[in-house]
Amino acid sequence: MMGGLFSLHFMVNALEAGTIVAVVAGPMGWFMVLRRQSFAGHTLAVVSFPGAAGAIWLGISPTFGYFAASVATAMVIAAVPRAAIGDRYSEESAVIGIVQAFALACGVLFVGLYGGFLNSLTALLFGTFLGISDWEVRVLLAVAVVVLVALAGMGRPLLFCSIDPAVASARGVPVRLVSGAFLILLGAAAAEASQITGALLVFALLVMPAATAQQLTPRPALGLVLSVVLGVTFAWGGLVVAYFTDYPVGFTVTSIGIVALAGATGGRALAESTRRIRTRPA
């Protein structure tokens, strides 16, 4: 039965795309969760919806729309002046909220302008694994390689800025530049994830593997590896279940992620309470 899965070209493409996206979304999500920038990540994914809808309306590939909208928005958010060193994300959330509302409104407009019946609307918002072309898989791969190389190159300064911006900047780390670069990479990662899970469900691959990994280990290197492993597991599990059950892929990936996160959180709470009982003086 599983063999049949791999003989279908669209399914092979979906699995390849899912794997690529999960490998990028894992570590990007790990830093996003660490930096408490989930709201920014969500917005960067949401703007990919008007991007894709606008591209369809203009008659070009929605893949371009996804990346252009998310990366451009990341640049806008990164350009918002922040108060002073050490003061984290003060103005950011209001600006991000405004961007998100406007993006959704633009998306609705583009769908309206397109006029005809846009049957991919649900797919744009909630994901699909049908009709991912060979060319799209190659674009996903190319962007993924660029994002991962850039992330690896700035990994340690990024960790420093995320945990302790005041000390990092005193040590000469260009905090503002690193934070801006991270947002742009996050835009690219969110655009990638949107193409599998849809614009509204990117957290299935961007937050759930990362948050689960952080529950499981406080070691940064191990956490990054775990978030990739978990992300690929969620993506494959979700795609296979969606294939056999006909449930939407956004739902299946998200459900697997929820179960894993709940299990990890519960398991850690249990482990900590037993340790506390054991170490309690008699």
Partner: protein, 279 residues
Amino acid sequence: MAQAPALSFEKAAVSLGGKTIWSDVTLSVATGEFVAVLGPNGVGKSTLVKAALGLYPLSAGRAVVLGRPPGDAGRDIGYLPQRRSFDPHLRVRGVDIVRLGADGHRFGMGLPVGSRRRAGRRLDRARVEEVIELVGAGDYAGRPIGQVSGGEQQRLLIAQALVRKPALLLLDEPLDSLDLPNQAAVSGLISRICLQQGVTVVMVAHDVNPILSALDSVVYIARGGAVSGKPTEVITSSNLSRLYETPVEVLRTSDGRLVVVGQPEAPAHHYDRHTGLPR
């Protein structure tokens, strides 16, 4: 004094957002000294530290830090900013936080390829273990930093500041938000580091008493300028009355503690404790 001072300000002033925080500050900290920066809330003690780091430019006068202009000596300075504490949900180990002091500024893949890289990594790792041992944080360095106590976090951060063997430690209220036993332990640790490691320590403090016996000198800033020198010479009724521009009395208790009486309550201008900017 044969050796050049580790830190000196000459008629220095800092203005932020068009507002002068302090001006006409002249002080000198000799190499190897343990110095406290004292003064009322909101007077710009943190600003002094940030000016020494080069994070805020001087609007007048000049400053020399380790023989260089502020900002150029960043790698030889260990810095501990003022803070309350880490987010309790931050799931990163203490040892990783300390390690950032060693390699957190380094861009690049950092793959352990090549023998020099591997050797450098081993050295870093050994040094991280050494400073964790030095501050006595071995028992809890493997736990997520958000889950250890305030005093333990402070020790780990001191370890982080020490990793690269700095010549100068700038500590911004490291005793703030610690209970009394922890205040005594952490201040004891800081003076021991100053003596044994030969590091110059400049520490912003709220209360001079926990560190009084260990100090070489103090810098007292108020809105009327700054005075520096031996603690007992600086913290006097006449000096503080002049600095506060109002009559102030300094009393000495039988066990040697200093009590400042009659100083004005919180100043009329409020500054953000963390940024030093007017609120």
